[in-house]
């Protein structure tokens, strides 16, 4: 099992991969991807029992669903680094004829992706269906589903929240990337989420909060949630993150939601991130 230090080293490389993917494609969403690098690393390198040979039905495996598909760079990096496909393929992100579409898709057959996402609000419903199927098939593994905080403005999310509680989907663990920001600004300025903790609670979920950029706290929270499955109640982890973490010129603003860094900004960002697992090459 990986130590917290090991996981932090992986997350550091994942962040380099995010910057390098988005820079090379000259497009993509670095902010939320960087903020969630710790979560993805914790899930795929520590918390989830999963098989990188990849079966779509995920029978007997813990399964992850990304609802806010625009943070695809972090998803792709972690899938590659954990062995789903060659890391060299990260250089094809957002390029023609790539399996690494701008937003994740099953269409090109990229191992590790089980649903297309990008149009927001749909992932939790899909995760509910998978959770329902696991119960039907007497499969006791867990389902994780990551949502953005701004995404919670979509009504479909709350249909799924109600459905999961009503149907006691206690194998389902929702995670909200609560960075407080969305494209047009802060959540509180765009459309306030209000008492987010209270909302999930009132809908019948168990709610915990965690610092999503603290690996030790994150791993503890995820493992706790996993051990609390089977209690008749779905769980959600409200994960406080910093968009752009830890790049000094990206944090503290929504401006890096969907902008690619230029050459100079990329060099600056990479200088702040240790190369721990070896960068994948850019094609000659």
């Amino acid at each position: 099992m990986s130590s917290i230090k090991d996981l932090e080293l992986v997350a550091c490389q994942v962040r380099r991969d995010i910057i390098r993917q988005v820079h090379y494609a000259s497009s993509g969403h670095p902010g939320g991807s960087l903020g969630c690098a710790d979560l993805f690393t914790a899930l795929y390198f520590k918390v989830m029992e999963h098989d990188t040979s990849f079966q779509m039905d995920g029978k007997g495996e813990d399964m992850f669903f990304l609802s806010n598909g625009h943070i695809s760079p972090v998803f792709y990096s972690v899938l590659a680094r954990s062995g789903y496909f060659p890391v060299e393929e990260l250089a094809t992100f957002r390029k023609l004829d790539s399996r690494l579409q701008g937003h994740p898709a099953t269409h090109e057959g990229l191992p590790g992706v089980r649903i297309a996402s990008g149009s927001l609000g749909q992932g939790l419903s899909v995760a509910c269906g998978v959770a329902q199927a696991k119960k039907l098939n007497k499969d006791e593994k867990s389902i994780f589903c990551l949502m953005g905080d701004g995404e919670l403005q979509e009504g479909q999310i709350w249909e799924a929240v109600m459905y999961a509680a009503h149907n006691k989907l206690d194998n389902l663990i929702g995670i909200v990337d609560w960075n407080g920001r969305q494209i047009d600004g802060d959540n509180d300025d765009v459309l306030s989420l209000g008492d987010l903790k209270g909302k999930w609670k009132t809908f019948g979920w168990t709610v915990t909060e965690v610092d999503g950029n603290n690996m030790e706290a994150l791993v503890t929270a995820l493992l706790d949630a996993k051990s609390n499955t089977g209690n008749g109640v779905p769980q959600v982890i409200l994960m406080r993150t910093e968009m752009g973490h830890p790049i000094d010129f990206m944090v503290g603003s929504h401006k890096w939601h969907g902008v690619a860094p230029n050459v100079e900004q990329t060099e600056n960002a990479l200088a702040q991130l240790e190369e721990t697992m070896g960068d994948y090459p850019y094609p000659a």
Partner: protein, 317 residues
């Protein structure tokens, strides 16, 4: 032959769906049912009672239903979603597009109360654009059976088809005239061979096409009658062969002319065998409250209109 198709009884196509769902549920334990608070309307009671563990009440939350269905399909189940056609398509187009069609999930979207024959509830519920929306989605099969027997057989057959399907049916009691148990996805039923005019119909209007064909045949006009239950993938071979026999075509459907079966047939003919064509369907209008037969007559989707268009198209040859 035309004389083989006689209305023996009146039963709704949604009853055919309910009966088919029960039967396919007995045959295939991967089949699961989902319904958005319309169990009675969709005739899903029998399946629910027989397989309570495989039936999911979704509440009035159609967007979530489509996502849950995609999730169940991801895990290898074969979900049949049930709600009205309006809420099966327009309300959830983006969910179907991304989570089902683009993600190639094996979901069967089963839609009742399609078209104006929904009747008194009026235009809010009478969707006439659903076939257009669904046929545009890459990889989506679109099936609009014409009577109880064909709907039942289609409901059973689609479980064996790997991929998303839109199955469209309706509310009213309707003549039952097709044989039991026969359904092949994508293969038109050639109901009568003729040389003067082709009538190509789908859904409820198939029966009116039979009535119109009987009138024409009694006048000595030879009708090539094609039953298109599968609008996509379209049976191009059957349609082109029919047009080659007759040299003129009438299409008939309970749907907007713009975007329906007629458009698909016209595209096919324009590219391969241009010939006169007339369209029976809704002419860029919403419906209204009324009885099904009154509405079909008022909006020119009845036997008289098929006859008139058949005569008109023959005159253009």
């Amino acid at each position: 032959m035309l004389s083989d198709y006689i209305a023996k009884d009146k039963k709704s196509t949604r009853d055919g769906f309910g009966a088919g769902l029960l039967e396919v549920g007995q045959k295939n334990d991967k089949v699961v049912g989902l319904c958005a608070d319309l169990i009675g309307s969709l005739k899903m009671n029998a399946f629910m009672d027989a397989f309570p563990e495989r039936f999911f009440q979704m509440g009035i939350a159609e967007a979530n239903m489509m996502g849950v269905a995609a999730g169940l399909a991801t895990s290898g189940q074969i979900p049949y979603t049930g709600t009205f056609a309006n809420f099966s398509t327009g309300r959830v187009f983006d969910q179907i597009r991304q989570s089902i069609a683009y993600s190639h999930k094996n979901v069967k979207i089963c839609a009742s109360h399609a078209g104006v024959t929904l009747g008194e509830d009026g235009a809010t519920h009478q969707i006439m654009e659903d076939v257009g929306m669904m046929k545009m989605l890459p990889g989506m099969a679109v099936i609009n059976p014409c009577d109880y027997n064909q709907t039942k057989a289609a409901t059973i057959a689609i479980a064996e088809y790997d991929g998303p399907v839109y199955l469209r049916f309706g509310r009213p009691g309707w003549p039952v005239f097709m044989p039991e148990g026969e359904f092949s996805i994508g293969k038109a039923v050639h109901m009568n061979e003729g040389k003067d005019v082709s009538i190509i119909a789908t859904g409820h209007l198939m029966w009116y096409a039979v009535e119109a064909a009987n009138v024409l045949e009694s006048e000595g006009i030879s009708v090539d009658l094609i039953n298109i239950h599968t609008i996509k993938p379209l049976d191009a071979t059957a349609i082109l062969a029919s047009a080659a026999r007759t040299g003129c075509v009438v299409t008939a459907e309970e749907h907007q002319i713009l975007g329906g079966l007629g458009g698909s047939v016209a595209q096919l003919l324009a590219a391969n065998n241009p010939c006169p064509i007339e369209f029976v369907g809704m002419d860029d209008s919403f419906g209204e409250s009324g009885k099904p037969d009154q509405l079909l007559a008022k909006y020119n989707m009845d036997t008289a209109t098929i006859l008139a268009k058949a005569r008109a198209v023959m005159a253009k040859k």
